[in-house]
Subunit: 197 residues, 2 copies
DNA sequence: TGGCCTTGTCATCAGGCGTTGACAAGCGGC
DNA sequence: GCCGCTTGTCAACGCCTGATGACAAGGCCA
């Protein structure tokens, strides 16, 4: 996970950015409590004290990481008629789970980070607030129409639940390819039904 | 949360049971990482060292708590035609969230404890194993028929996701009563559809 | 070349954790 | 009454965490 082993040139902006990306990868793979400042610092090849200086506290770093992720609205980018199929594919086939330390292009990355740290009391406030403003509310707006809040809650629940189910079952490893396809199909239909009303 | 403040009579079985119940309440309300041995000990009115002696390690205590909960199969008790409505009501109206330190009669308690500690690396092995043997597999068996694994995954995902959605939204506090009823109704239909095939 | 601000390191702190082994107190049997 | 086992307490250990302030070194400017 070490991103750079030659002496880092003295460049505050680049270093700050490297810390942010390393932290994003860590928070994507581990819960808030399991991510240590020293871990992130080691990934970048820097002393942990520097993170404190650049970002303040660990919670501030967490917020900065969430802000650096693409907005939850991006989940709704693309053809509306494909929403269900798109999301189902990303979750069932794990395209959402890939979490390389790149520019944060994964559309679901922010949501995955939030899901990872659910249950951590220290991150609870941030997680709760961010999931509402970045995920629930945009989804509700985008769905629109009568019962939008209700349908959005259900869609969000299904998305989050299947993401967790994926974690708990090691990527649906107990399902063969045909079953995975069936799972993605059923999930897509359910989601699309909620979007279309 | 202190269950007893008069000097506890010297009774190993009763003390062990009291520790188990206090731990169950704690693990139901907080994640594995957030529950401290000293917290549980204080609830019972006992020294933390005693827990180590009676249960071994913290992980052993966690396993003992999960074993003490009603089996996940109990979720499927009752009229099969009511499964969706029953589960939806318990989640939307929070009957599942009540977690008093009683005999562990809540049917969803075991599942709630597992959900609380998702994301904790220390508890991951236990959570993964228990959720499969106590929740996924019984549900798959109970659903039965063609595509049972697929439908069970979807049902489980919806149940878990809505339980988490409930947490993140403070008990669906942004929904009025009519919307909650609509949510429960839609969720019930979706679940029942998965059960019936 | 010398001064100085920036960038990064190091040692350290206070606090929390789970766990351990030595000790105190209750209590039944001889 | 005293022994010995059980039940519970206490102090401490080693480890890890996030955070802090003093210090070293790079690099620009005069």
């Amino acid at each position: 996970m070490v991103l750079c082993d030659v002496p880092r040139p003295r460049n505050a902006n680049a270093t700050r950015q490297a810390i942010l990306e390393a932290a994003r990868a860590r928070f994507c793979a581990e819960s808030y409590d399991d991510v240590g400042m020293r871990d992130v610092a080691r990934d970048v090849g820097v002393d942990a004290a520097l993170i404190s200086r650049y970002f303040g506290s660990k919670e501030d770093l967490f917020v900065a990481v969430l802000d650096s992720c693409k907005n939850g609205r991006d989940l709704m980018d693309g053809d509306r008629a494909d929403f269900g199929a798109r999301l189902a594919r990303e979750i069932v086939y794990g395209e959402a789970a890939a979490c390389t330390p790149d520019d944060g292009s994964g559309r679901m990355r922010g949501l995955l980070i939030l899901l990872r740290s659910i249950g951590s009391s220290k991150a609870m406030d941030v997680v709760q607030h961010t999931s509402n403003t970045r995920f629930f509310e945009p989804l509700t707006q985008w769905i629109g129409g009568a019962d939008a809040p209700v349908r959005a809650r259900l869609a969000a629940g299904l998305i989050m639940g299947m993401a967790i189910s994926r974690e708990l079952s090691d990527g649906f490893s107990n399902l063969d390819e045909a079953q995975k396809a069936a799972l993605a199909g059923r999930m897509a239909d359910a989601l699309q039904g909620l979007v279309d009303g």
